[in-house]
């Protein structure tokens, strides 16, 4: 028989063992296992990227051109999403059900538990209605962001548009995350690295539903974002708007440069488009619409379109002839109305007797330039090939045939043909007469409006080539732009400038005469095999100390004197005097007329 013990040793031992095990486990979790503590923090601490405000863009007078406006990204956490009425949600976001499902799929592929944007950069006005409904649906969250606000509606081709980053952008640069925007054209693209700033990081506490519940460790580990750098441009906003109004209803481009500095005062490519629309809800359809428009509004004619420069380069050809010593300031010429060599005839508009080369500029005499160019090409005993290469190098110095290096995207080098070009085209048999149309800026020679403006700046600027540019200062950092002196005797330049002055006073561009302003220019008509010729003009003003050089190109505008010359004169007059003389208002009315284009 067993006597009752005082108490069960087994039970007491068992109880103590149980508590010891539990207590050791508690100590392990709370005091020892740092991995568990880290995991705990992972659940409640979320690393949030803080987008920096993008750099601002100012005009040449330090007034704002492009600023930021708060906007919102609508994010989804796919794992938490509970949508009852897909159609309603899709329509709320302004998406088709199909598109909505695709975006949701994309978000799921990115992560099921991390929020990713389903609709980025939503304008506040749209956002507030969306938020009212979406905040009631689990799985939707919102993120602050920025969209661009434009203070000048005529800068689409200068500032450039932005779109959401693509898969390639994400792979190329780890800075970007889905839903970010990136500059695609213009300054936004060229200065993307400066404008975008540095992203910040914020550690926040989030609850089991992913809602933010305050800062982690009072923000001790947060990294504030660094705002993007501001661009101080060279654009004169009033001139820009005025120039745009002149080009309305026309296709073409205007580039106005301050010759001494290379600063671009106005830059118009027409037709234009709306940058604001790139931030609207239906931006993708707007983009597609622009792409399909026959007049190609997204095409930057100022830097990407190449045309034969036509007679606008006759001052340059004059300088080249001086350089080659085939004419002097007193060379006279009788133009019979055409230049004839063998079976080749180049027509001229009328017949003139010229006493000096500058009169050739004044009258834009084709036969004179054919003769002079022919002489130049035949200058050397060893043949025309050497002379052509010299000519090409000379043109390169003025910026033709290569990119000027202007600071926006999409610049084309144009074309200055050389010997190898013609060898490829004709074999080696070609002769000066084969390429004689280069003399008058036709043929294979192609130039962009920015090249024309740069070239006329060189003439205005005493032979200094200054790289044309839009940005003079980034934050407080002044940019230094290349400038190169081209070897031209000043008296030759003076001679050419006199000729260009005569163009306006008594030459082909008398219509461009401005009261009280003495200025110089040269008309051009670029032959266009596909339709009406393009109307061209280059000029600078005032004559003595030029403050503005301008190149105007109007597609299918016919003679240079019809559209381009008067438009250039108004740019000059508006820039120098701030208004248009009343005696010229009739002309202003006329050039503001749209041109009817065949589609």
């Amino acid at each position: 028989m067993k006597k009752l013990e005082d108490y069960s040793k087994f039970f007491v031992g068992f109880a103590i063992a149980v508590f010891l095990i539990l207590w050791i486990r508690l100590a392990y979790i709370q005091l020892y296992a740092s991995a568990l503590k880290e995991r705990a923090e992972q659940y409640i601490v979320e690393k949030k990227v803080v987008k920096p405000p993008r750099g601002l863009i100012y005009d040449r007078y330090d007034s704002i051109l492009v600023a930021n406006e708060p906007a919102y990204d609508i994010m989804v956490v796919p794992a938490r999403l509970e949508i009852k009425d897909t159609k309603f949600v899709a329509s709320l976001l302004g998406l088709s059900v199909q598109e909505f499902k695709e975006r949701l799929q994309r978000a799921k592929r990115y992560s099921r538990i991390v929020a990713s944007p389903i609709l980025s950069a939503v304008h506040p006005s749209h956002f507030h209605t969306m938020q009212t409904y979406l905040s009631m649906i689990p799985g939707f969250t919102f993120r602050r962001g920025f969209i661009r606000k434009y203070y000048n509606g005529h800068l689409a081709h200068v500032v450039g548009y932005m779109t959401e980053v693509s898969k390639e952008d994400l792979e190329k640069d780890s800075f970007y995350m889905p839903g970010d925007f990136i500059g695609r054209t213009g300054l936004e693209h060229f200065y993307e690295l400066e404008l975008r700033g540095q992203k910040g990081i914020r550690y926040v506490l989030v609850d089991a539903f992913g809602r933010e519940r305050g800062a982690y460790a009072n923000g001790k580990y947060d990294i504030p974002p660094v705002p993007g750098k501001s661009l101080y441009t060279t654009i004169d906003p009033n001139l820009q708007s005025f120039a745009s109004s002149l080009m309305e209803g026309k296709r073409g481009a205007i580039v106005a440069i301050e010759p001494a500095t290379g600063e671009i005062l106005a830059f118009v490519s027409s037709p234009d488009f709306s940058l604001d629309s790139f931030w609207h809800n239906n931006r993708s359809s707007y983009y597609v619409k622009l792409l399909n428009q026959p007049d190609k509004p997204l095409f930057n004619r100022g830097v990407s379109a190449t045309y034969p420069p036509g007679s606008t380069i006759k001052p340059l050809q004059t300088l080249f002839a001086f350089k080659m010593n085939v004419i002097n300031h007193y060379t006279s010429w009788f133009c019979p109305g055409a230049w004839v060599r063998g079976s080749l005839t180049v027509k001229c508009h009328g017949s003139h007797f010229l006493t000096t080369p500058k009169e050739a500029i004044q009258h834009s005499c084709n036969s004179f330039y054919c003769e002079v160019f022919y002489r130049a090409l035949s200058r050397y005993a060893e043949g025309h090939r050497k002379a052509l290469m010299q000519w090409k190098e000379y043109l390169n110095e003025f910026g033709f045939g290569k990119k000027t290096g202007v600071d926006i995207r999409g610049e084309k080098p144009g074309l200055v043909p050389d010997t190898s070009y013609y060898d490829r085209m004709y074999g080696t048999w070609w002769k000066p007469t084969t390429i004689i149309s280069l003399a008058i800026g036709q043929g294979e020679w192609l130039a962009t409006p920015i090249q024309l403006a740069t070239y006329v700046s060189v003439i205005a600027n005493g032979g200094w080539f200054v790289k044309p540019h839009f940005v003079r200062k980034i934050d407080t950092f002044m940019l230094e732009w290349d400038s190169v002196k081209i070897d031209i005797p000043e008296k030759d330049l003076q001679h050419v400038r006199d000729g260009m002055k005569k163009v306006i006073e008594e030459g082909t561009a008398r219509i461009a005469k401005i009261p009280d302003i003495e200025w110089a220019g040269k008309t051009g008509t670029a032959q266009n095999p596909h339709g009406e010729d393009h109307s061209l003009f280059v000029g600078f003003a005032p004559l003595d100390s030029p403050r503005i050089a301008v190149a105007v190109m109007v597609e299918n505008g016919g003679f240079g004197s019809r559209w381009a010359a008067p438009i250039a004169s108004f740019i000059v007059e508006y820039y120098l005097k701030g208004s248009i003389d009343s005696s010229r208002l009739w002309l202003l009315e006329r050039v503001k007329q749209p041109i009817k284009y065949e589609q």
Partner: protein, 409 residues
């Protein structure tokens, strides 16, 4: 017969009150920091008040009267459990609730008190022996089976408290150890650790043969024992993989934390561990627990309430609560050791054992050592049934504790 009234066990009452009030404080801070207005802590105050009133009544009546009602208690509890199975409410998949006068109640909790009482009374009247102890344990079988029928695994397991308590009168402790070992082997089999188990057996066999190499007569028992255990393990494995349907296997795997079910049992365990780990040494402060405030841990007012304690008061708070529990248990055992009534001693062991089983299963689950089987933390989890039941146990104990000699007969 000398009637000499002995002092009541005031220390147990004090510990009881500290735990109960701490529970209400914890519930209050959970409620306030997580938005409030759930009414949880107010109701717990009400339950404590009811418990204290009932406890006061119990202290007023004679212990003999209580004992004479033990049969009735037991019968009523069993009948109520049957009612719960037949027409009770189903809450969280457990068919264990009856509604009496607008209050939802789990009769199984009442059955625990009744079983402790009747077992103590039955065993105390017999000579302490292995047979008595084993027979006495049978009182727990019926309520345990009914709890299983209610799909209330946790409560069924707590009835193991009865044989554990009866080790005091001779229930073979090796059997208790074997039972625990069997349970652990079952968990290992479900978790898919059969390979390691078999390796473990092999190693054990080798070690035992080495130990007993001098006493040849034991070798065959050692060998037979290991083979038996191996056969049991293999048959468990067979039953698990061949008899159970895949969805049943799945459910069991989730139960032992083997299957990652992000919103289910595994989620609970992970978030419970997170909350506890986040508490650290000193905790976040009352009402400051991030996981607690934002309801990361499901059931944080009931089964997982220890998480709130561990997060907000840290290792220090958790340790103090554990110390209070072990103090309560040991105090009862040691206090009655001087008591001359075997009934009181057995009863004290029984209820100490119920406390212990609850704490083991609950904290084992919360601390990620045992599968997720929901049973409340005694006197601490929100819930009237549990509060009332453990209060009854404690107050009946307090009643018994003061009358050391009258109960001697």
């Amino acid at each position: 017969m000398v009637v000499s009234r002995q002092k009541m066990d005031w220390w147990v009452l004090i510990i009881y009150l500290i735990i109960s009030v701490w529970s209400i404080l914890t519930l209050y801070f959970i409620d306030v920091s997580s938005g409030g207005a759930s009414g949880v802590w107010q109701r717990q105050v009400m339950w404590l008040a009811i418990s204290l009133v009932v406890g006061f009544v119990i202290l007023m009546i004679d212990s003999q009267l209580i004992l004479s009602f033990s049969w009735l208690f037991y019968t009523i509890a069993i009948l109520l459990m049957l009612v719960a199975i037949v027409q009770g409410q189903v809450v969280r998949n457990i068919h264990a609730w009856v509604v009496i006068g607008g209050f939802r109640f789990q009769p199984v909790e009442l059955a625990k008190v009744a079983t402790a009482l009747i077992t103590a009374r039955w065993v105390a009247r017999r000579k302490p022996s292995v047979i008595t102890a084993v027979k006495g344990s049978l009182w727990a079988v019926l309520p345990a089976l009914l709890a299983l029928a209610q799909k209330d695994w946790g409560s069924a397991m707590t009835f193991a408290a009865v044989p554990l308590a009866l080790t005091y009168v001779g229930f073979p402790w090796l059997l208790v150890i074997a039972g625990i070992a069997l349970y652990l082997v079952l968990l290992a089999v479900i978790a898919g650790y059969i390979k390691y188990l078999l390796i473990l057996y092999g190693v054990t066999l080798l070690v035992l043969i080495l130990i007993f190499r001098k006493q040849k007569e034991y070798i065959k028992y050692v060998f037979g024992g290991v083979v038996l255990v191996t056969l049991i393990t293999l048959s468990m494995e067979w039953a698990f993989t061949k008899v159970l349907k895949p969805y049943q296997q799945q459910r069991l795997k989730v139960l032992v934390g083997q299957e990652k079910d992000p919103r289910g049992a595994a989620y609970n365990v992970i978030q419970a561990e997170n909350a506890i780990a986040y508490g650290g040494l000193t905790g976040t402060g009352l009402g400051q627990g991030f996981f607690t405030s934002f309801k990361f841990v499901p059931e944080q007012t009931t089964d997982f309430i220890f998480c709130a304690v561990a997060e907000e008061t840290g290792f220090i708070g958790g340790t103090i609560l554990m110390v209070l529990y072990i103090a309560l248990i040991l105090r009862m055992i040691i206090y009655v050791s001087k008591h001359r009534s075997p009934l009181v001693k057995i009863y004290a062991h029984a209820i100490a054992s119920f406390f212990l089983m609850h704490i083991l299963i609950n904290l084992g689950m919360v601390l990620g050592l045992l599968p997720v089987i929901g049973i409340p933390l005694p006197l601490f989890s929100y819930g009237g049934s549990q509060m009332l039941s453990f209060s009854l146990m404690v107050f009946i104990y307090l009643n018994f504790s003061r009358e050391r000699y009258t109960l001697l007969r």
